[in-house]
């Protein structure tokens, strides 16, 4: 049986019919059409589907759609404003912190939650914050550099 769910996604209220078995990931991709959130492992290990739920990073594959009733969700589509990339996104582009790009939306959102809570993170804090986001291309060095660069720019 489908149920009506209302939640706030990227600042806009969405009311959608969902199956109780739908995950937040399926809600975003299949019911609302926000395909920027990617599915990797589907069991909470890779962090590819990371989105922010009330500002905190979560794996969208490990949350039931019905659990986000009345909650706020932020996805990668919510970051760029008026065609202008978020400083974390532009730093990743400039510093080569993205290669195949599949992990990038999740990395950006984990980094955003970190910088929202801690504007001046050290390298260890950055690495800890993205420990749940697997990247098989970059070796992480350039991602860490990009997040540190974005932190400096956001503070300036």
């Amino acid at each position: 049986m489908k149920l009506l769910l209302s939640s706030i996604i990227n600042g806009a209220e969405h009311s959608v019919l969902v199956d109780p078995r739908d995950t937040l990931l399926e809600l975003l991709r299949d019911r609302i059409g926000l395909t920027g959130t990617k599915e990797g492992c589907g069991n909470g290990n890779c962090g590819t589907c990371t989105v922010l739920m009330d500002g905190a990073p979560v794996n969208a594959c490990l949350v039931l759609a019905l659990e986000v009733a009345g909650r706020e969700v932020e996805t990668i589509e919510g970051l760029a404003t008026a065609g202008e990339l978020h400083p974390i996104q532009s730093a990743l582009v400039e510093l080569g912190g993205t290669q195949c790009g599949f992990c990038t939306p999740g990395i950006v959102l984990s980094a955003k939650a970190l910088l929202d809570a801690n504007p001046t993170p050290g390298e260890a804090e950055i690495r800890q914050a993205i420990a749940g986001n697997l990247c098989r291309c970059t070796g992480y060095g350039k991602i860490v550099e990009a997040i540190a660069t974005a932190a400096r720019r956001l503070k300036a």
């Binding site: 149920l3 199956d19 109780p20 078995r21 995950t23 589907g42 069991n43 909470g44 290990n45 962090g47 990371t50 739920m53 905190a56 990073p57 979560v58 794996n59 594959c61 490990l62 949350v63 039931l64 019905l66 659990e67 984990s110 939650a113 800890q128 914050a129 420990a131 749940g132 986001n133 697997l134």
Partner: protein, 292 residues
């Protein structure tokens, strides 16, 4: 995944009513349950979300001292709570070992306990803190010492109509320190192949008034190393005694060999981790410690 009904009751009584219907399962963070349902390792036709019950998402100070941690509260919120961070740092640290930041924002200590994995990272530190499981069910409430809660891998003594509502922690006496050390092949996002929590309380004469040693990932359930504790109790802590206790803890382990490690390797790890945990606790208690 089989079709299920999702309910989110707002009281413990309503939640127990829901748990009594059909093949119901309690949902807290879902970080274990959802993959288990998807992979067919657990089954349910009714999912009872406990996060809308206020008492299950709160931390309270107990009148007799100690703390009560709501079973559905996220690991992140437990680790950040001022009283937990100040009085139970080993529990706060263990909560930060559960999976990733993303997992910690969802996973609850109650869920880590009820999932009953022998490798559960929060359990050894909770056992060292003399934690009890506060359980509510159709026939009323009861408390079970945490070390008696586990019946085997993935199994607890909770009956189908019962749920964990909170974890009760005993007050921390003066001159007490606890630490949890685990070994994982990878630094992040890994499951312990052995874990050891150690607590020492010192008497005024600086002898060991109480010792607790709890082991993870080396038996069908979390284990206490009772013989190792007895070696320490009443004595002055020092490296030679720590080595004897570490060997006794290794003998208490009942590990299996699997894809992640051999039984012998796990036993050897218990010895090393116990020795290191004792040294860490000794440092926290300002005990002069010349390693042998």
């Amino acid at each position: 995944m089989r079709d299920f009904v999702y309910v989110a009751p707002t009281s413990i009584e309503d939640a127990i009513g829901e748990l009594c219907r059909g093949e119901a399962r309690a949902l807290a963070g879902g970080t274990d349950l959802l993959p288990q349902l998807r992979e067919g390792r657990r089954s349910a036709d009714r999912i009872v979300d406990l996060k809308r019950i206020p008492a299950l998402s709160a931390i309270g100070l107990r009148p007799e001292g100690g703390v009560e941690i709501g079973a559905a509260l996220s690991a992140t919120r437990v680790a950040r709570h001022a009283t937990i961070a100040a009085n139970y740092p080993a529990i706060a640290a263990a909560a930060r070992l559960l999976g990733s930041v993303q997992v910690q924002n969802r996973a609850s200590l109650g869920g880590n306990v009820c999932n009953a994995a022998p490798s559960a990272d929060v359990v050894p530190a909770l056992i060292c803190q003399d934690a009890s499981a506060h359980i509510a069910g159709a026939n009323g409430r009861r408390q079970v010492s945490l070390e008696d809660l586990f019946a085997g891998p993935g199994k607890t003594v909770l009956t189908d109509d019962e749920m964990l509502i909170s974890l009760l922690l005993a007050p921390v006496p003066p001159r007490s320190a606890t630490t949890y050390l685990r070994f994982t092949p990878r630094r992040e996002m890994d499951i312990a192949i052995a874990g050891v929590a150690v607590r020492l309380d010192l008497a005024e004469d600086r002898t060991v008034a109480l010792a607790r040693i709890a082991l993870a990932s080396v038996g069908p359930t979390p284990l206490r190393a009772l013989a190792a504790e007895r070696l320490l109790q009443g004595n002055r802590p020092e490296p030679v005694l720590a080595q004897e206790a570490a060997l006794a803890a290794a003998s208490a382990a009942r590990p299996i060999s699997d894809t992640r490690a051999s039984a012998d390797y796990r036993r050897a790890l218990v010895e090393v981790l116990t020795r290191r945990a004792l040294a860490a606790v000794a440092r926290a208690l300002n005990i002069a410690w010349d390693p042998t």
